[in-house]
């Protein structure tokens, strides 16, 4: 069933939800949009044809998070509380929602689930907003996703001008959108046409056929040197990435807490060992690690590419390094398969 939600009523709907859950929606910070809690006074910012600059993975894996506290009175460590508030995340783009499902394979793994991630996941309803006008830096269709990918979403919206078409996808999604007008069969067809057109018209950035095997063979190739030459070694691409999940654990003595902070394989200190040995001593190895992790190692773990094509790393790289072009150049580089002895 598809429903219709007038854009003029969106704010009111979000505000009404705040009585039963924390509601997050993209709002303007300076000149960009970021997911922020919806309060009395807020302005929705979904006008740009793409996602927020700061990735919504932070709603599930905050950049800094307390894992445990040291209780000086009892002289022992106590676990930090897992969040227990229901949440509704409105306006998340399909690439970011899909990224969350990819991260589930890391943080909701059966052997060792992460309680903080798990608690946030279990209590969040994701209302996605499909992309009828994907941007030039987007490439979701090239990585097994699409502008209307439903992965991880409880409902998906399609922009119809002054109205959103609402397609609830799960029970939780259904429960959010009650008492709405049902879309006519004709409208439903229009919606489908919009979705198909957006998907169809997105150019394919690179072919994935045999990509993993090819990349694995290129491990020692000099292309990495080439990519790394201009790379600054900053953390923009990985911190803005919706699927990058590496973190560091540090003790904050003054706060008596042990915290985890996002970390990135692009930093030299990330992999340096106590002995001083660094398995990834230069930008060459670090750039390779980032790309290989996404396009090769993830496939071994989940069978899926660890990239959802959101394009943030492309848009914000200060030296214009484009991961799509990196993949394309890799594909164009013949691999000299090393002899196995």
């Amino acid at each position: 069933m598809t429903y219709l939600l007038k854009k003029s009523e969106v704010n009111q709907t979000l505000r009404a939800w705040t009585s039963k859950a924390h509601v997050y929606a993209p709002q303007k910070v300076q000149k960009y949009a970021q997911f922020l809690p919806v309060g009395e006074d807020f302005e929705l910012s979904v006008e740009e044809p793409h996602n927020t600059r700061f990735p919504p993975k932070a709603l599930f894996l905050p950049q800094s998070e307390t894992l445990l506290k040291y209780n000086p009175q009892k002289r022992e460590l106590e676990s930090a509380k897992t969040p227990d508030q229901p949440r509704i995340i409105f306006g998340i783009r399909p690439c970011d929602a899909k990224a969350v499902t990819l991260l589930d394979s890391v943080f909701s793994s059966e052997d060792n689930p992460d309680p903080f991630w798990q608690a946030r996941r279990d209590q969040s309803v994701l209302v996605g907003l499909g992309c009828d006008q994907p941007c030039a830096t987007c490439f979701c269709t090239s990585v097994e996703s699409g502008p209307f990918d439903r992965s991880g979403l409880d409902a998906i919206l399609t922009d119809l001008g002054d109205t959103y078409a609402v397609e609830p996808l799960t029970e939780r999604g259904v429960s959010l959108f009650e008492n709405l007008t049902v879309a006519s069969a004709e409208t439903t067809q229009t919606i489908q046409a919009i979705q198909e057109k957006a998907t169809r018209e997105m150019p394919i950035a690179f072919g994935r056929e045999g990509l993993k095997a090819h990349l694995d063979e290129l491990f020692e190739n000099e292309i990495w040197e080439d990519f790394a030459k201009s790379c600054l070694g900053c953390g923009i691409c990985t911190f803005l990435c919706p699927t990058c999940f590496c973190f560091d654990i540090v003790d904050e003595v003054r706060k008596s807490t042990r915290e985890r902070n996002w970390d990135t394989c692009m930093f030299k200190v990330y992999s340096i060992e106590a002995s001083g040995h660094n398995p990834r001593p230069s930008r060459r190895e670090r750039t390779r690690q980032r790309l290989m992790h996404k396009y090769s190692y993830w496939l071994d773990h989940t069978g899926q590419t660890g990239c959802t094509g959101c394009g943030r790393c492309v848009r914000y790289c200060p030296v214009g390094l484009d991961i799509r072009a990196m993949v394309r150049k890799s594909v164009a580089t013949p691999s000299e398969v090393p002899h196995v002895d």
Partner: protein
Amino acid sequence: MTELENRILAEAQRLLSENLADVVIAFKQADTPLRPQPAFFTDAEAVNDLVYNGLCQNNLANYLTRYPREKKIAMVVRGCESRSVNALVLENQHPRENLYLIGIPCEGIVDWRKIVEAVGEDVLSVQDQADIVVVRTPKGEFTLDRAALMHGSCLRCTQKNPLGTDVTIGKPVAEQDPHLLRERVKNFEALGIQTRYEYFRQESERCIRCYACREACPMCYCEECFVDHTGPRWTESGVTPAGMQGWHIIRAFHQTGRCTSCGACERACPMDIHMTYLTDKLNTDMYDKYQFVAGLDAKTQTPFAAFNLDDKNRFVAGGTSK
């Protein structure tokens, strides 16, 4: 290819083919239209990729410290870059005799964010012409006024013409009023201490600690940055107010007498954090107190490397400041 690009290209080819340089650091067109990429040409044949336009936003001097001292490096430098090179040579990062500077009088860097603000994020191509910038987007073509697109640092630039180059390509451009930097600082100081703190708090709050500002800065070449030091840990590592404010204060302060106001830090920042207003203050102070401007030559020591018995003295009885 513009005439300027042709002349740079010819010079680069000459340097490589005559073995006068091991590498020529310049720009090439990147895969995204808004940001040409730093390029490292080692082969006269490959130089055809070279581009030069207002969108070349990186400070190429940043790459100098990646090469061993004996490498002969040729580099395209604008005013601020030539100052950075001087500052690096002064700090013994590369011998001047192993450098060949191809100077280009700079018309100012076009801030890609301002283009995005004007036409939206989807940009297909950009053409930087004398006074206008023509941007092609899926929505159509836009002609923008170049002056309105200049990056903030360039608006306050005091050194558009490169210094101490081996060759200069292009006509010298008129320098601007050198007091623009001071004016900005004085205006900010006039705001009152509460307002100043509030501004600083809001700016640093957006920091995601990606350290792009550090990595983009030619003067941030320390083997180990103070934020990465573990024994002792100097700042909180997380995105906490203490960590973020501490980072921005100390990062800027470490540039005292070294910063050449190129603005590369600000252009690299993914969260649009204003940072040059901090270094501008330090630069202004260095000039006002010690008549020092970083990078004008490769000989004059920075103020912090020296001292004088007649320095301003606030160490007085009873703790009276100033």
